[in-house]
Amino acid sequence: MTPEAFEAALRGVLAERYHDRHPFNVRMHEGVLAPEEIRSWVRNRYYYQTRIPIKDGIILAKSEDPGFRRRWIRRIHDHDGDDAREGGLELWLRLADAVGLERAEVASLRNVLPGVRRACDAYVEFVSGHDLLESVASSLTELAAGGLMARRIACFERHYPWVKTDGLRYFESRTEQAPRDAAEGLRFVLERATREEDQARCVRALERKCEILWALLDGVEWGGRRLVLARGVKLHDEAEGPVAVLAERAVRIHGAGREILALCDGARTAGAVAAAMRARHEAPPDVERETYAFLEDMERLGVLEGTP
């Protein structure tokens, strides 16, 4: 492909698969998300923010070129901050304050939903397992990020006025950083990938990154689903412990599982079930994580289902 055709192919991936088309983002920009949904997104997306400097550190370590490293390290400063300014992570925690979350709770990452965690970890794993070219190509979702940030600021001011404007500084900072980073990344990829097979690898890397961002929002949506004992499932409290019986299997319920199932009343979201478990117990550190893992298992086995 010519460089022009290659760039068009990359932009074509974004036009088709970037997460601005994900139903959750569409609803965010339509202004119809409930405050609890906005809060869940902010809380969970923070995990992605924490992965970015780690991912960029891995990319740095892949390059032999001091010039490349000098430019790329700026991304880490952008997120972590330096002596002169606050970084993106701090600005995101301001957003957490602005939507009414406890900053310490968000920073602890303890309440990150399992699908979100898997998606973000998959990004770090992708960069770890692929070469410099593919790693840089995977960052090119930034080509679409600048526009999304500008839209997002307007949308928050219009639809979510309860979010304090100080919280929007992260988006403001990215409207400048993302286009600059994207132009740099694009130039690198266009210069390096001149052979068909390298270009194809870059396109695939960008597709994979789009999948990851999409999966992140799927993970946020999962946390908002209202779970209930699936139709036809019977719960037997046997002498040896509770057993859930369904179409082709019986599932023994261990430990706090019985209590979690009782909380799945069709009114509570997965997030609310985890919050209720934390409120009821003397805060073992992993209570949310264990609750989510149990809920996912039960859904996979067909014991629980989402209400329509």
């Binding site: 139709r231 019977k234 037997h236 057993v243 179409a247 019986a250």
Partner: protein, 364 residues
């Protein structure tokens, strides 16, 4: 040997069925077994099963909806606090009756299909049924009943795994069971017309694996057939260990096929279900491990496969206590290897199919 707790009751309500599949797992003298239990008797069986520890009942046959009192049977099972799972061929059952069964307490449905397209499916079923089956799958989804699709695999459809997966997704099934034919009864008679080649089975296993990665929301069960696995299947999770079958005539068995063995089983309601399960000589014949001979007796895998299938051992060696010939360690394994060499073929080859028949002579 003290009897373990059964979890699952397989209630064969009748051997009548509008389909004539050439691998049917019912006894080959099926017409000799009349439907001896009415809905009240089934209700008592469900109550006694629950008292034994059973939590799940599969209503099967034959075709359960061939019984006019199926609604009353479902209601009785739900009243006994069992999860009620209906195993149906999708005919003569229709959506309206399925709705009535759902109201009576039905919990889930397993629908059999014979292949992924109407002509091939109806050819194996020996009757026109495919369109009705799809209609019933839609009704199940509309009623919110979890749906499992079950397909028996053999040389004529084993190449269609991807199409079967696509069909299962289209129908909104939660689970797809790709069940390789087990060569007992009718299927053993038809083995030369059904047994696939090893290459076909491998390709099907790969297709199932690929589909699993692609559609994680659909649970896909594919078990390598014992003729090709080199190891026996853990038949019924062990003889009279966790499941019991009540046949249409009331006989209480450890599996569908055990009636063909020269063993004494007892019948409900002539005796209490607990006695039939715990004390019938046939039930205790192969419970546990004390019946095992070499090489099973000391085999480290005996805890995984429980010695395999007694019915297969009997059908192929004449001795139900012999090692399952499907196991490569069995002294009789050559019988499986010979059958594979002689009978395995691709579709288009081999003799014609002999369909299940309702042989009235056998009823006398």
């Amino acid at each position: 040997m003290s009897a373990p707790r059964p979890w699952n009751l397989i209630a064969e309500l009748t051997y009548r069925c509008p389909l004539r599949c050439p691998y049917c797992s019912n006894p080959t003298d099926l017409a000799a077994h009349r439907d001896a239990l009415d809905a009240d008797a089934w209700g008592r069986a469900f109550e006694e099963a629950r008292a034994l520890g059973v939590v799940h009942v599969g209503l099967t046959g034959g075709e359960p909806s061939a019984r006019r009192d199926l609604e009353a049977i479902v209601r009785a099972a739900a009243r006994a606090d069992l999860h009620v799972h209906l195993v149906t061929a999708g005919t003569p059952l229709d959506g309206e009756r399925l709705a009535a069964l759902a109201r009576a307490g039905l919990g889930s449905v397993q629908l059999s299909i014979q292949d992924a397209d109407p002509e091939a499916s109806d050819r194996i079923a020996g009757t026109e049924a495919f369109a009705r089956k799809l209609e019933l799958a839609r009704s199940a989804r509309e009623l919110g009943l979890p749906l499992t699709l079950n397909v028996v695999l053999h040389r004529h459809n084993v190449g269609n795994v991807s199409a079967l997966v696509a069909l299962a997704r289209r129908l909104g099934a939660r689970r797809l069971e790709l069940a390789n034919a087990q060569y007992h009864g009718f299927a053993l008679r038809n083995r030369a017309a059904l047994l696939p080649t090893a290459a076909q089975v491998r390709a099907a296993a790969h297709a199932a694996e690929a589909a699993r990665a692609e559609a994680p929301a659909l649970e896909i069960l594919f078990v390598l057939p014992d003729y090709f696995a080199g190891r026996p299947k853990p038949c019924m999770g062990g003889w009279a260990k966790s499941a019991l079958v009540v046949a249409p005539d009331g006989r209480v068995l450890p599996c569908h096929g055990a009636a063909a063995l020269p063993l004494e089983f007892w019948s409900f309601p002539a005796r209490a279900l607990r006695a039939c399960w715990e004390d019938a000589p046939g039930m205790n014949a192969y419970r546990g491990e004390s019946w095992m001979r070499a090489p099973c007796r000391t085999c480290p895998e005996r805890a995984l496969d429980f010695g395999g299938c007694r019915c297969q051992a009997f059908a192929l060696t004449g001795d139900a206590a012999a090692a399952d010939p499907a196991c490569a360690l069995s002294p009789h394994h050559a019988r499986i290897a010979e059958a594979r060499a002689r009978d395995a073929a691709e579709a288009g080859d081999g003799p014609g199919l002999a369909f299940r028949t309702w042989d009235e002579d056998a009823a006398r």
